[in-house]
């Protein structure tokens, strides 16, 4: 067991867990942020995607010790803080394009999309595919995800830019 401090969604959080515990389970079980999902446990599906220092990572395969002292943004924090305009634009676009079916993978999808748009405000189809290909959806919502990202990119730009 170790005491580890993280900055989660802008707040400092101290946890006492074994250091090899994947960040996913610290978020879900210790901090009760269940919007980040467990899908494969092996970095294959992207359902557990969160941002660490602004980069999308697979929290199921990231030991919590690796993110000690770092900034973690989860879906619960996306609509506030530094990415709030972009996060809200994405969440609204996801609703407008009627993306979610079961919805289980969508929080991870939105986190990957937010990371894409933060660096590439107006992505091409190829850039969207490259950024989103690690996120699986068994309901088959990919084409609507693509449309929603384009929509959110336009809206975030129209709002004076997301960054």
């Amino acid at each position: 067991m170790a005491d580890i401090t993280l900055r989660v969604n802008g707040s400092e959080r101290k946890v006492s867990v074994s250091p090899e515990t994947p960040l996913l389970w610290v978020l879900r079980d210790t901090l009760e942020l269940t919007g980040t999902k467990f899908g494969c446990g092996a970095g294959l599906c992207g359902a557990c995607t969160v941002h660490v220092e602004g980069n999308p990572i697979r929290s199921c395969s990231t030991p919590v010790s690796q993110v000690a002292g770092k900034s973690v943004i989860t879906i619960e924090g996306l609509g506030a803080g530094g990415l709030s305009l972009l996060g809200q634009a994405l969440q609204q676009a996801w609703i407008a394009e009627e993306v979610p079916q079961c919805g289980y993978c969508q929080t991870g999808q939105i986190m990957s999309a937010a990371a894409l748009l933060a660096k590439t405000p107006n992505p091409t189809d190829e850039q969207i595919t490259a950024a989103m290909n690690g996120n699986l959806c068994r309901c088959g919502t990919y084409e609507r995800i693509r449309k929603a990202i384009h929509l959110a990119a336009g809206r975030a730009a129209g709002n004076g830019g997301a960054r």
């Binding site: 079980d29 269940t34 919007g35 999902k37 359902a47 084409e143």
Partner: protein, 705 residues
Amino acid sequence: MSPLSRREFVAAGVAAGAGLVIGFYLPHRGGPQTEFFSPNAYLRITPDNKVTIVVARSEMGQGVRTALPMILAEELEADWKQIEIEQAGASTLFGDQTTGGSASIRTTWDPMRKAGAAAREMLISAAALTWNVPRSSCTPENGRIKHAATNRSLSYGELVGKAAMLPIPTDVPLKQSKDYKIVGHRLARVDSPAKVKGEAVFGIDFRMPGMKFTLLSRSPAIGGKVASFDDKESKKISGVSYVGKISDSAVAVVADSVWGAMEGRRVLNVTWDDGPNKDLNTAAVRESLKQAASKKAATLYSAGDAAKASGRRISAEYELPFMAHAPMEPGNCTAHYQGTKCELWAPTQVPQDCRDSVATAIGLDPDQVKVNVTLMGGGFGRRLEHDYAVEAALVSKAINAPVKVIWTREDDMRFSTYRPASLHQLSATLDGSGFPVALTHRIIAPSISGQKGQPTPGNVDPDMPDEAGPVYGIPNYAIEYVMTETPVPLGWMRSVYALQAAFALESFIDELAVAAGKDPLQYRLHLLAKDQDLQFFTTSWKTARMRGVLQLAAEKAGWDKPLPAGRYRGIACFGCFASYMAEVVEITVENGQPRVHRVVAVVDCGQVVNPSILEQQIQGGIVYGLANALRAKITIEKGRVVQGNFDDYAPLRMDETPAVEVYAVPSVEVPTGIGEPSVPPIAPALCNAIYAATKKRIRALPILG
């Protein structure tokens, strides 16, 4: 009359009328001073003008929490904005609550319409009594009853007290499709906002005080048992509080976190007795299907006499492997056993089966088991099983505390219930123009229901009537079924046997068209040219409706227009769950592999309830079906499932997903299935396009081997 006596009146009136009772399951059931109007189990209106509609099917992404209330709200003439949705748990009020067989709208269309209409008529009467005016002068509109002559109106909430006193009408008028204001419209799904914010509570997200987590170590060999186990290392893991055998074939590790339970299970030392299937492998399964092919078959469908026809004969065999559902949310269930009762929070398609099987497993009566239905991260049929619920209840009983069982992805892949592997033998006798005068389709496959000990009258799996029907008006046409057995656990996977039947039939029809030197669309239309009703069990398949979807698909796809160089098309059609479907696929072949660029899908499913949800279901079914066609294969070695995660059982990703255009044939017929019918035609349409491109015929799935 005091509020209390009003409620008594309602309860008495309800009990006398058609067995409708105010639901005990309602979490916000009013205290003594609260009035509400609940003429049936689906609806409750309170004086604060809140209209609550109860959904008695499970939401797994297919949109029932939106679509089913739309049906009731339409007849109620409700204001959609005032509707609140309540999920029913396992109940005795709604009949069979199984969510499967593309049946939620089909089976609730009448009850939901009648529930809304009865309430509407009672609210009209209540307003007429209030104003002392004729009923005929009162009109329901947008959540209010209006009296145009005097420009008065009352909200439904204001009419609750009076409406609750009235007798419940049994024969109510239902609206015409042309007057619909909610049904048939693209209303936004009610569940999307919570899902995009991470606030939606799936089964795996449910939490309660004192809840532990458990993972189970299960026999890796199918049918194996625990010989012995050593929990010494497991108990060294921080947070592990219990290790114990909970069935012949499973040892549970309980901890205060998921990670603790995972680590505890990782170091658990179990010695397994591999049991009777330790030498089973995929080759043996294939061989057993081939050997069964010559056995006596049950006749599913028979027109004319296919055996007597004479002429040029063409035959072919098609094969399909086991497949796994792999929903994104792995299996899980939370149980709280408390001696004389047990409560479950289950992501399940079968709340009533969970209740009953849990009751049996832990020695309670079914009415001592309460099942709450959570959101599901996909189902696809996997959650028609109740294994997670039984495991959770057994562990909760063993530790006498609330516990959530969680399956890993490897658990999901290796301990699933699989789409049955199958073999199909087709033969046709052709006339001088190359059209079949006779066609026989023999399906050789194990029975899912049979394996589960359910009835298979006449040696016919009870799913066949929904999924293996005739498509064409061929004068001598036989569909036969040889029911086999396998030790590999079987389950109902999206479209069940229709995927296999359609792959075989629609590939074979394409082979016949090629042999006749005819265009595959025109060939099919010729076989559907005459208006016929093909009676298959209780469904009457209409050649005219199948012709309709094919023609519309061909038109939208531009079938008669040339394609750019390197692009090829394939077409297929099929009917299942009483809906008609045609799909056209456009591909290129790159490095010997097909790449799907465009799919045009046309459905005839009667009245469409929500066009946006319908498009979601068809787009999703096609992506699911493409993954099935291209790569889905579960293999068995030494009695064990080989595949374990999304690397060796790879679903479609964004880079492989085509644009899917969806069209529905305008119809006011009774709604039919939509969750599954788009899945079956995609594999043969794709394989037929591959033939057009390469002259190579795919006779076994998956396409990529």
